[in-house]
Subunit: 384 residues, 2 copies
């Protein structure tokens, strides 16, 4: 290429490319400010002629016009499905609506679904893409920090049922993830904090250095500087490493559930009422509980648990059961709410516990009595 | 093993075992009279503690008691879901009902779904198994000839939508198939004939020797002698060979759709009214049309097409559009009904055509005008 030709190219946004080398289904995660502007070009390169764009009502006004313009500029036919914002859209009803819309749009196997939104949209649109025509490809354009660092990576898709979250779904890897960190500029502070819980989680699982970096740079992540790009990229790398070891959650992938056994139970306890608790907040409380439970079982130094608690509180995240407005029921209620978790095997409870910051491990066969006694003590604590 | 120990064992039913060596998901198809009596023993060997048995109202009375007794005798907890008989159960509504029932039964990832029934039950229960907890294993116990030789093998599962059959689903291989040919003794003659269309199809695709054998032995297949076991085993082998070459229908697997592009359009034309046309009958007409269309295009000797027609008619299967009671609309109606077929790529029609018996091939890019002219001539033919 001549330097003249080079000179004509628009400046590429700064980005980091993370390759997910799954056999036969390898894909890239692009992280950086402005990468979603290339959506149309990428969709065209993937060979699609039509795209079904799935988004929600809240994201639609903010980001759909730019996404649709990018797709149209690349010569793609665009069909749009807009679902209500919120967890309640992860339902059989919305799944059927989206599948019907994709078929009405005469989507063919070589075409693409684009999930533009947070975790709800990604899980729902990804699941629809997994089952329409027994599988079409999809691109994730996550618009929340939670989705950028967690749900858009790894191929888990699904919906909720009356018995719990994500109990129906599929493993369906995206063809591309565009994690545009500039999209987070419009994110509500509470959603930013909730997503940050999952960022901190990667440090707590197995990377104490990253946790220390988070302690030092969290304000920059929230402000949108280069620390944000690094945090998102590092989180994606960490998740990809686990997914590659264990795509279908038969082993190590369960480490990603640090804070989630307690967290999911709390979400169920508030009946998924986002006014009281959103997912990342549940994870924050859950991680703090997992560390305190580890201390109680004699597995983890108290200093590490205190440090986890202090950091989560410093960014404004909850860490106590009493921080959840309106109460979460009894210890038995919470244990019952854990019972239908997909991690249950043969009726025993499995937790992700820790021997310290960055030293988490899978602990199967935890006795219900231990859990109940711990939760009763936690329930007796006053709000901080 | 001593001969005394051998002497104590109950006589094993005669069976053929067909291994499907898919990497990481290898499974067996057992074919023979009485093999479904071993259901419980196999489920226990697979490590399940609970089983969700899915069947339909018609099959329930005939075969569910024996299946449940076999499972209970092996110490398994059995939950049962009974759906209405018929194609209309392949719906989002029934899918949700079954998923909810599986979750209510607290099925865990190591447990099993058993699909006891014809193609509808297998497709529906298999799809539910594919998505509940993002995938639990399932055993197919097909009770119709169609299901034994076609739908229970190969891992395609799914439901219908307003826009067509099987447009939503998953590839989910069973953990075991028990093709008990004795279960076909209770099958209605019309269903036996319809299933036989798929048996003959395997000869027409690429095995002229098997087609000739079918011409000689079809009456024995219907009567339930050893020819039936051979026909089922040979059909499974043929399908497995294609599936192994192309599990996800990116190439050769499309050959299995011989007769199905026309056949599906006919099923849509009668609005899936089983009183007028059932799937195998549509396939029979579709195969006859595919051969006549091949003759018209100068691809296939007329003698081969006539032989196909004569054999299908001799077993009592329809071969003409006029054989479908109540009419099937215009040529344009039929072409429109083909339009949403999953085989469509970039708006062109793909057919499976033949250069002769046992010499079928994938013919993409067939011009709509050719199809219309052919169908108009076929519509003008009198009933035979």
């Amino acid at each position: 290429m001549t330097s003249a030709a080079l000179g004509e190219r628009p400046a590429e946004p700064a980005r980091e490319t993370i390759r997910v080398p799954l056999e036969g289904r390898a894909y890239d995660i692009l992280v950086g400010r402005g990468v979603s502007g290339e959506l149309g070009a990428h969709a065209a390169v993937l060979g699609a002629r039509a795209v079904c764009l799935v988004t929600d009502e809240a994201v639609y006004a903010l980001h759909a016009p730019a996404a649709e313009a990018s797709l149209a500029a690349a010569g793609l036919r665009v069909e749009r499905v807009v679902v209500p914002a919120g967890e309640s859209s992860k339902s059989f009803t919305q799944l059927q609506t989206i599948c019907d819309a994709m078929l009405a749009a005469r989507l063919e196997r070589g075409d693409l679904v684009v999930a533009l939104g947070g975790g709800v949209v990604g899980d729902l649109a990804g699941f629809a893409a997994a089952i329409v025509l027994r599988g079409v490809r999809f691109i994730q354009v996550p618009t929340t920090l939670l989705a950028q660092v967690d749900s858009s990576v790894g191929g888990k898709t699904g919906i909720n049922t009356a018995r719990g979250k994500n109990l129906v779904g599929a493993f369906h890897q995206p063809a591309l993830v565009l994690a545009d960190t500039a999209l987070l500029d419009t994110l509500a502070p509470r959603d930013m904090r909730a997503g940050y819980a999952e960022v901190a989680k990667y440090g707590l699982i197995n990377d104490p250095g990253f946790f220390a970096w988070c302690e030092a740079h969290w304000a920059d992540i929230f402000a949108g500087g280069s620390a944000r790009d690094h945090a998102v990229a590092q989180s994606c790398l960490a998740k990809v490493a686990v997914v590659l070891r264990d795509e279908r959650e038969e082993g190590d992938r369960a480490l990603l559930n640090l804070g989630h056994t307690f967290g999911h139970a709390l979400e169920r306890a508030v009946a998924y009422d986002g006014a009281r608790l959103i997912h990342g907040e549940g994870v924050a409380v859950g991680m703090a509980l997992a560390f305190r439970f580890s201390v109680r079982l004699g597995l983890c130094p108290r200093a590490d648990s205190d440090r986890v608690d202090a950091h989560l509180r410093s960014v404004g995240l909850p860490t106590l059961l009493a921080d959840v407005p309106g109460g979460v029921g009894t210890a038995d209620d919470l244990i019952a709410a854990m019972g239908q978790d997909k991690k249950v095997r043969a009726g025993q409870l499995t937790f992700i516990l820790a021997r310290g910051i960055g030293r988490s491990f899978i602990a199967p066969g935890i006795a219900r009595e231990e859990v109940r006694a711990f939760l009763e003590d936690e329930l007796a604590r006053a709000p901080s």
